[in-house]
């Protein structure tokens, strides 16, 4: 070990704090100058952490499941009766759904409907809830893919019921999903049967708000909110939530996905069937006016 004189050592120890302060302010500058730098670092960290979280979250889940089971033992008979009633109702609905499906298929056949190609998806377990104070995100463990893991970038994440978010960071075995409740999340949506357009904006609260809806057709309470292909960021028709009014003239979306208790997420990548961002020509592309308006790539 190098022996230093006492005054020199004191001076050095006094200097560490300012030097580290300058270093961290430098980090802020680097993070600002190169956004990829910090996202690469956090993807690498997530990759290291995901298996460790996986080890621990298993037992936690088992314990949760256990307490749930014990709690349910006390209300077994009531639950049974409730389930039987629900089952009878669902059976009726099944017949309705089957009839509708047959009718739908018939109509599609007569329209020469071309089904859109099914997107590729991978299913991942949510291993950590890594949101910050002003960010809502979860860490998903992704099975190692044969292809390029960067293909998952921007993939749409759905849980069993509806849209949960989008992938913003990808490592080799983990992906970070920015939830629709995050303040930076903006999802173009279509409301109700008419599909009137609006923008769903996250605000860090459990219910994202609806912006830019047409004042002549305000979203109705309880109307279903689906994603819209406007802007080309999302495929159309994914279920998001239902409209609810907390206050007059300020509609929010109650998400269908259980965002507080996400367990499994399916990550859909839509690389090929995304619509282009170019304006759709009204006439045939050979026509002169349409050519003048179309943007060259």
């Amino acid at each position: 070990m190098i022996r230093l004189s006492v005054p020199l050592r004191q001076a050095l120890s006094r200097l560490t704090l300012p030097v580290m302060m300058v270093f961290s302010l430098g980090c802020v500058l680097i993070g600002r100058a190169d956004q990829n730098f910090s996202s690469h670092l956090s993807a690498a960290l997530d990759d290291i952490l995901a298996p460790a979280y996986m080890l621990v979250s298993g037992p936690i889940r088992a314990a949760e499941h256990g307490t749930g089971e014990i709690g349910r033992l006390f209300s077994l008979s009531e639950e049974n009766a409730q389930l039987r009633a629900q089952n009878a109702k669902l059976l009726q609905w099944r017949e309705v759904a089957m009839a509708l499906e047959a009718q739908n298929n018939e109509l599609k056949a007569s329209l020469h409907y071309m089904p859109s190609p099914a997107p590729e998806f991978s299913t991942g377990e949510v291993v950590a809830d890594l949101g910050g104070v002003y960010a809502r995100s979860v860490l998903v463990m992704v099975p190692p893919t044969h292809g390029n893991p960067q293909d998952l970038m921007g993939a749409v994440a759905l849980d069993g019921r509806g849209l949960a978010g989008r992938v913003v960071d990808v490592g080799s075995r983990s992906a970070r999903v920015l939830l629709i409740t995050d303040i930076n999340s903006r999802v173009p949506v279509a409301i109700g049967a008419k599909g009137s357009p609006a923008l769903m904006a996250g605000n860090n609260s459990p219910d994202p708000s609806l912006l830019y809806w047409s004042p002549s057709q305000p979203p109705a309470e309880g109307a279903i909110v689906l994603t819209s292909a406007e802007g080309g960021a999302f495929p159309p028709g994914l279920p998001v939530g239902v409209v609810h009014y907390n206050r007059q003239n300020q509609p929010v979306v109650l998400p269908l996905a259980d965002l507080d208790r996400l367990r499994l997420l399916r990550l859909f990548s839509y690389p090929h069937n995304l619509p282009n961002l170019t304006p759709i020509p009204q006439t045939r592309p050979e026509a002169a006016p349409a050519k003048a308006h179309s943007r060259k790539p």
Partner: protein
């Protein structure tokens, strides 16, 4: 000095390991705690807990055992906090260092003071630091962030410090006590 001499020249390898592990204990528990708080426990406001925990630990160890949490390790914890919590890179590192610096300045007065005063000082510092974090986040992302999580963070830091101290004092007296090695 009789106590000091074996500390400075540990003769035995086990002694050395013992002393090193005691020295590393505060930083190791701080980093480990940051990871543990990321697990999906489903506690409401779990995300706000992480910076509060980091601030509490940095404050406590800078106050009572500054040698165990040198500035580079505090900066490292801050960077981890940034990477885990998606805040702008480096902001929490600078803020934790600021907290450490303020604590070290007030150390002579705070260390022998009564607990209530130490608690109040922490609350004031945590309010200032978390507000600065909010302002830095707003400025660096060019958005007006909601203030309700910030106020929640203030309440959390005021409310959780006694519990955190109760745990950290135990650690301070036994597994982190380098002089007992």
């Amino acid at each position: 000095m009789a106590l000091g001499s074996p500390l400075r020249h540990p003769t035995h390898l086990l002694h050395q390991i013992d002393a090193a592990s005691r020295w590393i204990f505060p930083c190791a528990t701080l980093i480990f705690g940051l990871f543990v708080l990321g697990m999906p426990f489903g506690i409401p406001g779990q995300a706000a807990l992480r910076p509060v925990y980091a601030m509490g630990c940095v404050y406590f160890w800078s106050l009572y055992r500054p040698a165990s949490l040198p500035a580079p390790l505090a900066a490292l914890c801050g960077l981890l906090l940034d990477l885990l919590g998606l805040s702008p890179f480096g902001v929490w590192a600078a803020l934790l260092l600021l907290l450490q610096w303020a604590t070290l300045l007030l150390r002579r007065k705070l260390a022998p003071a009564r607990f209530l005063l130490v608690w109040a000082a922490f609350t004031v510092m945590a309010v200032v630091i978390s507000s600065l974090a909010w302002a830095a986040d707003c400025a660096l992302t060019l958005t007006w962030l909601p203030t309700s999580p910030l106020m929640f963070e203030w309440l959390l830091s005021a409310g959780l410090y006694p519990t955190l101290t109760a745990l950290l004092i135990r650690a301070h007296r036994a597994p982190a006590a380098v002089e007992l090695a």
